[in-house]
C-alpha cells in the first residue's frame, strides 16, 4: 500500500544503519577498529601465507578488516607427518577487503633424507579481490572472485641443492592463481575452487621446474567447509599436484595433498586450526600423514 514517503522503514533498520544524531550530519568516518569482518569469514592462514584454508588460498581477503579498514595478522603453523616436519611463520596485511599482502617462511625438516637439513622457503604473496562478496552475496550463487600471485624462493642447503641442480630445478619461481569462494549462508556451507598455475616441485620445497620441463601447469584445489557455530567450522581440502620430478626416479614422486580440518575462532583476535593432513609421498617416503596445528593472531 502506499505509505510511500514514510520511513516506516525503520525496518530498514534491520539492515540499515540509522541516522546520525543531528541534522546535516552524515555517518561518522569509519572507526580504526579494523576488525569488522564476521568471525571466520576471512578464512585462516594457509601454508603459503595467503588467507584461505590450511593448504590452499581462497578468494576471501585475510585479516578482519573490511572496506575502509586495514588489518594485520600473524600466524605460526606446525605440521608433523610420519618422517618430516614443517614449521611456517608469516604475516598478512588486509587492505579495504580488496588487497591482501602476505609473507611466509616455511622451514621443512628433511633430516630423514639428509641429516641436519632444513629446506627454507620464503614466500611473498599478493591477492586482489576482483568481484563479489562472500557474505553479502550469501543468498545467491554469485561467488567472491580473486586472483593472486606467490613469489617463492628456496634455500635448500648444499646437499639437497646439489640434487636440485642435477635435475635443473630452479631456486625461485612464481605461481599465479585464481579463486572463487562461495558462502551458502542458508546452508552454512562454504565452497572454494582455486586454479593455480605453477612450476613448483612439492610446492617449492624441491625447487621449480626441471631441465626438460619448464611449463606452467594448472593445478586445481578444492575446499569445502561447514559452519557449526559462529566461531567453529569443519572442512576438507584437496590439492592436485604436478609430478614433474618423477622422471628423476620413483623417489621423487609427488602426491596430491589433502586434509580435514577444524577451525575455531574464540574472538576476532585469535583463531586455531587443527587438521589431519595426508601429503602422500615426499622424496621416497610414502604415506606422509600427520597433524597440523595453526595459530593466527590479529590486531
Amino acid at each position: 500500500m502506499s505509505s510511500p514517503a514514510l520511513p516506516l522503514l525503520c525496518c530498514a533498520l534491520a539492515l540499515s544503519l540509522p541516522a546520525a544524531a543531528a541534522p546535516g550530519d552524515e555517518s561518522p568516518a569509519p572507526r580504526p577498529t579494523a576488525r569488522s569482518k564476521l568471525l571466520l569469514t576471512a578464512g585462516v592462514s594457509s601454508i603459503d601465507g595467503a588467507a584461505g584454508g590450511g593448504l590452499t588460498p581462497w578468494a576471501v581477503t585475510g585479516t578482519q578488516a573490511t572496506e575502509h579498514e586495514v588489518g594485520g595478522t600473524a600466524f605460526v603453523t606446525r605440521a608433523v607427518v610420519s618422517d618430516y616436519a614443517l614449521t611456517v611463520k608469516g604475516a598478512t596485511v588486509g587492505i579495504h577487503d580488496r588487497v591482501e599482502l602476505s609473507l611466509a617462511r616455511q622451514d621443512f625438516d628433511a633430516g630423514v633424507v639428509v641429516p641436519r637439513t632444513t629446506l627454507k622457503l620464503d614466500i611473498a604473496g599478493v591477492k586482489l579481490k576482483l568481484a563479489g562478496d562472500a557474505v553479502l552475496n550469501s543468498d545467491t550463487w554469485q561467488p567472491q572472485l580473486a586472483v593472486g600471485l606467490f613469489y617463492k624462493h628456496l634455500d635448500p642447503g648444499s646437499a639437497v641443492g646439489g640434487v636440485l641442480d642435477s635435475v635443473g630445478a630452479k631456486r625461485h619461481g612464481v605461481e599465479v592463481y585464481a579463486s572463487a569462494t562461495k558462502l551458502l549462508l542458508a546452508q552454512g556451507v562454504l565452497l572454494n575452487g582455486t586454479l593455480r598455475a605453477t612450476q613448483a616441485n612439492q610446492n617449492g620445497l624441491l625447487g621449480f621446474g626441471t631441465t626438460g620441463d619448464r611449463r606452467m601447469r594448472l593445478q586445481p584445489e578444492f575446499s569445502v567447509a561447514k559452519l557449526l557455530r559462529k566461531d567453529l567450522a569443519i572442512g576438507a581440502e584437496y590439492r592436485f599436484k604436478p609430478d614433474r620430478l618423477a622422471f628423476a626416479g620413483p623417489a621423487f614422486k609427488e602426491s596430491d595433498w589433502k586434509d580435514v580440518f577444524v577451525a575455531w575462532a574464540p574472538n576476532k583476535h585469535l583463531s586455531f586450526t587443527l587438521a589431519w593432513v595426508d601429503l602422500g609421498q615426499i622424496v621416497g617416503h610414502e604415506r606422509q600423514r600427520g597433524t597440523y596445528l595453526s595459530l593466527q593472531a590479529g590486531l
Binding site: L15, S16, A19, P23, H68
Partner: protein, 166 residues
C-alpha cells in the same frame, strides 16, 4: 496502518529539514521521498515455512526478537549513537513486521524500499556487519538455532546490498 501513518505525519514538519538519515532513525517522514515503486515487492516473498517461524518462536517470538534487537543496537558502542533520536517503540513494531514477513509469517511490511531510504546515508560495510553481529548475539540470547539464524541472515542479504553506499 492508519494510526501509524498519522503518527508519522506529526513528524512531517521537523522531518522536512532533516536528512534521510534521521528519517530512518526517527520515523520522520521523508517529505521529499519518492513513492515506493508499486510493482517491486518491498520485502522478498518466501513460501510459508512453519518450522522456520517456529524456530523463532512464532510471530510473538519475532516481535520479542525485534524488540530486544532494537534495544541491543541502541546499547551497542559502535552503532548505538545512530539511534539517539529514534522512537524505539515504533521502530520495534516496524522491524517486527519486516522480520515476520521475511520469515513468511502473517505480517505485511509497508514502508519504503531499502535503497530509497538509505541512499544518502553513507552506510559502510563495517556498520552493517556490526549490525549483523548485534542481530546474531540477540538471536543467540533467545536460543534461536544457528541454522535458522543463518537462513534469516541469508534472506536479509539482498537488503544489505542495497543499503551499503560507502
Amino acid at each position: 496502518m492508519r494510526p501509524v501513518i498519522a503518527m508519522n505525519k506529526t513528524f512531517c514538519g521537523r522531518a522536512a529539514t532533516l536528512p534521510l538519515l534521521l528519517a530512518l532513525a526517527g520515523l520522520a517522514p521523508l517529505a521529499q521521498a519518492q513513492p515506493a515503486p508499486a510493482a517491486e515487492p518491498l520485502v522478498p516473498v518466501f513460501a510459508p515455512d512453519p518450522a522456520l517461524l517456529a524456530d523463532f518462536g512464532g510471530v510473538e517470538g519475532v516481535r520479542k526478537l525485534s524488540s530486544l534487537f532494537v534495544d541491543n543496537m541502541r546499547a551497542d558502542p559502535r552503532i548505538g549513537h545512530y539511534f539517539e533520536k529514534t522512537k524505539l517503540s515504533e521502530l520495534k513494531k516496524q522491524l517486527g513486521d519486516q522480520l515476520c514477513q521475511v520469515l513468511a509469517g502473517p505480517c505485511v511490511y509497508e514502508g519504503d524500499t531499502m535503497k530509497a531510504s538509505h541512499a544518502d546515508l553513507k552506510i559502510s560495510k563495517a556498520d552493517s556487519l556490526a549490525q549483523v553481529e548485534v542481530l546474531q548475539a540477540t538471536m543467540d540470547s533467545l536460543g534461536i538455532p544457528f541454522g535458522s539464524q543463518n537462513r534469516l541472515l541469508a534472506r536479509l542479504a539482498p537488503m544489505y546490498r542495497q543499503i551499503i553506499t560507502r
